[in-house]
């Protein structure tokens, strides 16, 4: 009944200039649809089901009760599906509760000669290995993120192309969100190390310990290294859709963000927040209106001159460099860099991201961000003016694209909504400068735009 209307409310929100159909993930879908998928037998035809038909309200018929039972049973079956690892492509990860550490075969025997003799890999790096025990807390394994807590001794498969960092023993270290995501999708088998269990630890490294459950993985990884469940929901949600995500510098509270457009800081100009001050100044110093007409006395020969004179209200120019680099504060801070599936991504040298995402918890942050918060957040992102032939031509595309943009992921108890905030420059689009369309040829010129804002 309400189907069409629910679909209709999503239509006006055409994000990113692309047309988005009804988002099936908006509401709970009937799990019976899932059983139509023959994903277990044939992965090639795993297309998503159509939106299920729902009833308006419960009635005491047996028919309805039966359908509901079937739906619930389907849901139960789908959720009860075990995470299995075929021995052929099983990837085993080992939980390292104390963070990255060199393998035990290297770390425990402190004598240098044994290392050089036994471990051919570390021979060239003997000098490094000597140093590692002294700085175990800061970063014992070079090239690996200090928040990593799971290592994969035998990395294979496609997942490590854009996840994890390898150390020099060829083990790939995973960040908590990466490990949890892989475990959750049934692609990684994480083991408890023996040192965490009550069993005696006799130092044999070939015993990989006992498998970690999903429950234990949530308990171990959520809350580790700044990973909140909200951030994880955003991470896994976008990963499931095929995006690549990495932590942005703003992940850590208090860490200075590198502002990427420093080279533009040559001339001082007011930022978004500075506009208010300029407006006040203008209010006080607006003598022109008191003396006479705003457009000035005399003979006017061109409309454009008049319009130019009439534009007395100052506007924010996004091209102007930010006045002072103010520090963004959580939650209005970029915590993820997001890459489209089509963007070529190398994990050792990540390219500039396609999207910057800030994660906001709707329960703790109940108000819309202030202009100052939004301003600093936008100023922390690099200038990205609309470019290209299409943007030149289409005014509204240009306005929507803006000069800086950031995506806010609002999380309400596991339900994520994404909003794109862009710094649009209405003041820069002088409508009076545009050439009026000649004749009826609509193809040659863009449509005439209404003058009002």
């Amino acid at each position: 009944m309400a189907d069409t209307d629910e679909a209709a409310i999503h239509l006006p929100s055409h994000d990113f200039a692309t047309h988005i159909d009804t988002d099936l993930s908006d509401e709970t879908q009937d799990f019976r649809m899932l059983s139509n998928l023959s994903f277990l037998t044939d992965t090639s035809q795993a297309t998503l089901p159509k939106r299920g038909e729902k009833d308006f309200e419960p009635n005491p018929t047996l028919y309805q009760a039966d359908i509901l039972d079937a739906s619930r049973q389907a849901m139960h079956n789908a959720l009860a599906h075990p995470r299995l690892h075929h021995p052929k492509n099983q990837i085993i990860g080992i939980y390292a509760p104390d963070g990255p550490a060199p393998p035990r075969s290297v770390a425990t025997p402190k004598k240098l000669d044994t290392i050089t003799e036994d471990d051919p890999l570390s021979t060239k790096n003997t000098a490094d290995t000597e140093e590692t025990p002294s700085q175990t807390t800061t970063g014992p394994v070079t090239g690996v993120h200090p928040d990593s807590c799971v290592y994969v001794p035998n990395p294979k498969g496609q997942y490590f192309k854009n996840m994890g960092r390898a150390d020099r023993w060829n083990r790939v270290w995973l960040l908590p969100e990466e490990a949890l995501y892989l475990l959750e999708r049934g692609s990684l088998d994480i083991r408890w190390p023996l040192s965490e269990t009550g069993c005696e630890d006799d130092g044999e490294t070939d015993d990989p310990g006992i498998p970690m459950s999903l429950q234990a993985a949530y308990a171990c990884f959520i809350g580790r290294g700044g990973l909140t469940v909200d951030r994880f929901s955003v991470y896994s949600g976008l990963r499931r859709l095929g995006y690549t995500l990495i932590r942005a510098p703003g992940w850590y509270d208090g860490v200075e963000e590198e502002t990427e457009d420093r080279e533009l800081t040559k001339c001082q100009g007011p930022g978004l927040a500075g506009i208010y001050g300029r407006f006040m100044k203008w209010l006080h110093s607006s003598r022109t209106t008191a003396v006479g007409p705003v457009a000035g006395l005399g003979i006017h020969r061109s409309y454009n001159d008049i319009y130019r004179k009439l534009s007395i209200i100052p506007f924010h120019d996004p091209m102007a460099p930010p006045s002072q680099p103010s520090q963004t504060k959580l939650p209005f801070r970029v915590v993820f860099y997001v890459y489209k599936p089509s963007t070529p991504f190398r994990k050792t040298a990540p390219p500039p991201p396609d999207f910057r995402v800030a994660v906001v918890n709707a329960r703790t942050q109940t108000t819309v961000p202030t202009l100052a918060q939004l301003g600093t957040l936008l100023e922390s992102t690099p200038l990205d003016p609309p470019k290209g032939e299409k943007m030149e031509r289409m005014l509204y595309m240009r306005l929507r694209h803006g000069y800086r943009s950031v995506v806010l992921a609002i999380v309400d108890q596991g339900v994520v909504s994404y909003l794109r905030v862009a710094d649009a420059a209405f003041g820069k689009e002088k409508l009076y400068n545009r050439v009026a369309p000649i004749g009826n040829k609509k193809g040659a010129h863009p449509r005439p735009k209404p003058k009002g804002r």
Binding site: D55, P58, D189
Partner: protein, 315 residues
């Protein structure tokens, strides 16, 4: 469908949020207590989509509180449980658990191989039928189109795989049976399993010091509890611009009827909020429901929740 988990159900508290990991508990709470929560995990069968999600189930603090107040559940400090539980795990338990997992893995492997076998047989049968039919149609020249119903439907798509199977069948028919028996015996070939819950190795009952007090809830809790008591299923409503979505029945089968926003009894409301809410609700054929607990002088603790539904009159 009538699995009864042992009560109280432990709700895991991890870093400020509440989760349920046991599938039996999830279905039980949904069926008996109308608590749906939000599934936030990836479904391992089809991991690259966001329409159907899997365990764990995240509960709103309101839902957790309601269950605790009803005596159905208890809040457990999961981080503590895991740490202490693993520390207490002895060599014996570990070996036993590993053996259990291995036998489950073997079982899974056996099931999968037998399923594959069945599928193979099915396709072979289909192939044979097709051959027979093809032979028949050759005999009948007035019927140039191949056979109509079942084989034609998935004919072109399945063809290469069929031929592949046909080749195999000739050469390795005798081998497969022997290979199958070998897989069932060899423990090397057991499927690895990542269990959803931690409780086979760890005790099912949490220790007393691992229990936590009842969850802190927002001021909208009285309204939440009231609507829940009236039989509504409630879920977080940010997607629709409200606090809760109220469903008349299980959200699996019904669309929601109300966008719920809670207010304090003497709170001054902006008229714009009511208009915006009413507009928003009417746009999706839902009512905008506003409500709160009425504070009465005489009965201080007995809260009386009142609700109002706002609709566009369309005069």
């Amino acid at each position: 469908m009538t699995i009864e988990p042992t009560l109280p159900i432990p709700i895991s508290y991890i870093e400020g949020n509440y989760y349920v990991f046991s599938i039996d508990a999830v279905t039980y709470l949904r069926r008996e207590y109308h608590i749906c929560g939000v599934l936030i995990g990836t479904l391992p069968q089809i991991p690259q989509q966001n329409v159907f999600l899997g365990l764990p189930l995240e509960l709103m603090p309101e839902e957790a509180r309601l269950l605790v107040e009803k005596g159905v559940a208890c809040i457990v400090d999961e981080v503590k449980v895991q740490k202490q539980g693993m520390k207490a795990l002895m060599e014996e338990d570990r070996k036993k658990y590993l053996r259990e997992l291995e036998s489950q893995g073997l079982q899974a492997m056996r099931l999968q191989t037998s399923r594959k076998e069945q599928q193979r047989e099915k396709t072979l049968k289909k192939l044979e039928e097709k051959k027979v039919k093809a032979a028949k149609s050759k005999k009948l020249p007035e019927d140039p189109e191949p056979e109509p119903e079942p084989a034609a439907a998935d004919g072109p798509k399945d063809d290469p795989s069929l031929e592949l199977f046909a080749d195999h069948q000739l050469s390795s028919n005798s081998q497969t049976t022997s290979r199958r028996t070998s897989t069932t015996i060899n423990p090397e070939n057991a499927m690895g399993i990542t269990p959803a819950t931690a409780h086979p190795p760890l005790p099912a009952e949490p220790a007393a010091e691992q229990l936590l007090p009842t969850p802190q809830v927002p001021s909208s809790y009285p309204l939440f509890a009231h609507l829940h008591a009236e039989g509504y299923f409630l879920s977080p409503g940010l997607r629709f611009g409200c606090q809760y979505l109220a469903y008349p029945g299980d959200p699996l089968r019904f669309h929601s009827h109300f966008l719920v926003v809670s207010a304090e009894w003497d709170e001054e409301l902006d008229l714009m909020e009511i208009i915006a809410g009413g507009r928003l609700g009417t746009g999706v054929k839902k009512g905008f429901l506003i409500g709160g607990a009425e504070k009465k002088e005489g009965s201080a603790d007995k809260e009386n929740v009142r609700t109002f539904s706002i609709e566009w009159a369309g005069m």
